[in-house]
Amino acid sequence: MEYRVSPRINDFAVKLANVNGTGSASANGLIMQAIFRMGIPVSGKNLFPSNIQGLPTWYEIRVNGDGHVSRALDYDLMVAMNAQTYDRDLKEVRSGGYVLYDSSWPLDDHLLREDIHLIGVPLARMCIESFAEPRERTLMKNIAYAGAMVALLEIDMAIVEALIKESFSRKPALLASNTRALRLGYDYAKEHFACPLPFRLSPMNANADKILIDGNTAIALGCLYAGVTVAAWYPITPATSVMDGFKNLCEKYRKDPETGENNYIILQAEDELAAIGMVIGAMWNGARAFTSTAGPGISLMNELLGLAYYAEIPVVVVDVQRVGPSTGMPTRTQQSDLLECAYASHGDTKHILLLPGNPAECFDFAVKSFDLADRFQTPVFIVSDLDIGMNDWVVPKLDWDDSYRPDRGRVLTHDEIEALPQFHRFLGENGTQIAPRTLPGVHPKGAYFTRGSGHNKFGLYTEIPDEYQEVMDRLLLKHRAAASAVPPALIEERRNAEFGVITVGGCDAAVREAVENLAANGIFADFMRIRAFPFGREVEQFIADHEFCFVVEQNRDSQLKSMLILETAAPKEKLQSVLVYGGFPLSARTVVDEITRQLTRVPQPVSIRKGK
């Protein structure tokens, strides 16, 4: 089944099959960025192995003038640079599509398909002839195929050359060889093939106020702008680039221009238990601090997350979700830590989750997370995923309001403490569930004893049932109160909608596209993307307003649906799962197929699984 009618301009998908560690990433990024600069909606998805060098890796580019750029499932052009995977790769080319391969060596006969076109470019041979160093020869092959693509797809050569210049402005030798390699490929293609191909690019103006950014960098930027001074982490894919990004930003923007001192500290902890401990210590002391991790790290942080919850210490944890359980597939995407994060730790706990759907929200929610953590004195999770975190997305340029000041919540000042007859740590204030806190060192009367053991509202140790319950009950009300402070669900309604489609996180683009495609086929649905937990009234209302809703998410166990069932008044019969959890970014077609399939049966709460 085909859901889009392909005009040949600005509507196609390319897949590049490479070997990792051979430098293909920069060539692929170059193409993607050039298309972006041409003003055309584009996406790039990196499907890489959990390995440093030598294994298959893919990069997928989808171009679509209407802005539909969720992952494609078959390709107009396959740049097949990995002989090891020719087999798989060639199968994914759509009928009538093209394969660009290195013709330095002949293709195996068994790979040939009647219905696809071969474009052989002798990349290795050309590079051996043009470059001396072995490493250079390998690297330049990538730029050479990029050059061929420039010709074949009518990528703006001036833009590509400008990008190369920017990259190597301070390395003239590299600039020269890159330019040469680019031309090699370009010229060869021009000379030997009819350029452009029947599908091609044409400049647009869709990206004027857009940027190309990955979610992890955006989170780092948000943390910088939110005023983070302490960060603690333990390296883990796919969260590592959050902290790498934060460090780069700090080096640029947080070195005191007068003294040269660092107005920040980044602690590479010995493990995730330590990382969350450091954040707890820092935020207890009044700093803004965060840690970034992935599923295994969240598992390890469980105990201390309960401490922070119960002792009411603000904490920000970034979880860039990968495929679990256990080590799972560290370089693949899922939303499968939702339950783990929402209810982390033993005993009764509930945490605030922010669920960005793209890098722009990553920035906003990162800033927001600190305000919420400080206001509600509790752990706040930014639950992102690998697709958002590590792939470049085209998003609106980020905005900043200079009047922003951190919401530190109820932190008593020196004078406020001075004015108190006595300070009691856990007394809800003015009918709210929030108990003002003090920071160490501010005022002698502000001193109190923080503990994870049973305490009463005065902050004193207790083992008395009523006193214990009183504090626990306030914590529950406090959590509920956060529902109106977190980012509301994003809802898009359309005329004649018959049902709702609910989703989360990195599924956003694909589900949105799917809903439009369904509409094009005469099936009308409203769209809601959950952006936080606890759920606001609008979530409940949306479900109430629809006869039934699909919940599309990337995990096996319907984790978002489970939370909706438990934490709203919605009858569970109204929610139907669409589950796709193989680890690749979601594609609209999968969603359309599944929803269509389920619609052809009587709606009932059945979970449907799909392998791609």
Binding site: N263, E270, A287, A447, T450
Partner: protein
């Protein structure tokens, strides 16, 4: 961690320190530990040292994990901030706290279970970071709060109350610290406050991570014959290897240093630790020699106490990270947020 209000009887010696505070002002709520527990004596030494140093109570952060020992921060300086955290996790929490606000004084109190089992990895890494804090291990060879299991500091052959002998090699925090590049290492005995108080004072003045391993007998579960962490055994086997004297910065010039050829180490704030009665050519700055001294004594069954090793040269966590002298929590907003214009500019990179 239960705390019971103390009767408001005035302390007999109402002597006042520089801040005009009495010893009583450095006490905490009444201990709920067993009568005779070594930990209570350590508490008393801490009270005395902080009083003598005129530490401002609310500028003190008392950190701990979980255990009988970890309860003790409730029993000193009520006017200080306390954080009784989770089992074994105090080092990272203290590290984060210190990173955020270096202007407070951090005193951590832990147990041998808390520090040498569940928290061992964290302790080792806090040593490497040279977090500026006093880190006290109230070492009783057992898990007190969970009723007497052997801890990782139990000696080979020491007997449990039921008569069972431990067979695994003990972890000696001092030897461990030496192997990891720790910068301040001392061992005390809860029964010897006189020795402990100056060590505590020097630890407070130290620029980095100061470990004080205090043999602190558990009267309920590990004070019997056959135990090598009992009061009796410790009294019989310990040697006061070094005697130290802490000379605060102000008095420095007035005090005659090494009248009898003593060793002295000057701390970064100008205060001085004077070593007296040390073994011939004992050098508290010579890591190798100290290790040798300790191991030889350990081999002979002697428990070496005293301030054993000081290294004031290694940078601490803030020096390694080039942070300002003031707390990071005091950096003004204008220096933290690059602002809208900069955001606009830096996004050029993302095009």
């Amino acid at each position: 961690m239960p705390s019971i209000a103390k009767p408001a009887v005035l302390h007999p010696s109402a002597q006042r320190n520089e801040l005009g505070l009495t010893l009583r002002d450095y006490e905490g709520s009444m201990s709920t530990l067993c009568a005779g527990c070594g930990h209570d004596s350590v508490t008393a030494a801490i009270v005395r040292a902080l009083w003598e140093l005129s530490v401002e109570p609310h500028k003190l952060a008392k950190m701990s994990g979980i255990g009988c020992s970890s309860k003790t921060p409730a029993y000193f300086v009520t006017g200080a901030h306390g954080f009784n955290s989770a089992h074994g996790r105090m080092p990272p929490i203290a590290t984060g706290a210190n990173a955020a606000n270096r202007e407070l004084l951090y005193i951590g109190v832990s147990g041998d279970g808390d520090s040498l089992s569940i928290g061992l990895g964290h302790l080792c890494h806090a040593i490497r970071r040279n977090v500026r804090m006093v880190y006290i291990i109230e070492n009783n060879g057992v898990y007190g709060l969970t009723k007497g299991q052997f801890s990782a500091s139990a000696d080979v052959g020491t007997k449990s109350k039921k008569g069972e002998a431990n067979r695994m090699a003990p972890i000696d925090p001092i030897q461990l610290g030496l192997s990891l590049g720790a910068t301040f290492l001392a061992r005390g005995f809860s029964g010897d406050k006189e020795q402990l108080v100056p060590i505590l004072k020097a630890a407070v003045a130290h620029r980095g991570f100061a470990i004080i391993d205090v043999v602190s007998p558990c009267v309920t579960f590990n004070d019997h014959t056959g135990s090598t962490k009992s009061y009796l055994y410790t009294r019989q086997h310990r040697i006061r290897a070094t005697e130290t004297d802490y000379v605060p910065p102000a008095t420095e010039i007035l005090t005659e240093i090494s009248p009898r050829g003593e060793t002295a180490v000057t701390l970064h704030d100008g205060s001085v630790v004077r070593f007296s009665a040390v073994p011939a050519d004992y050098n508290p700055s010579d890591r190798l020699a100290v290790a040798k001294f300790l191991q030889e004594n350990a081999a002979d069954g002697r428990i070496v106490t005293g301030l054993l090793y000081v290294d004031e040269a290694t940078p601490n966590i803030h020096e390694m990270n080039n942070t300002p002298a003031k707390a990071l929590t005091s950096v003004p907003w204008s220096k933290l947020c690059p602002g809208a214009e900069m955001l606009n500019a830096l996004q050029e990179e993302f095009r």
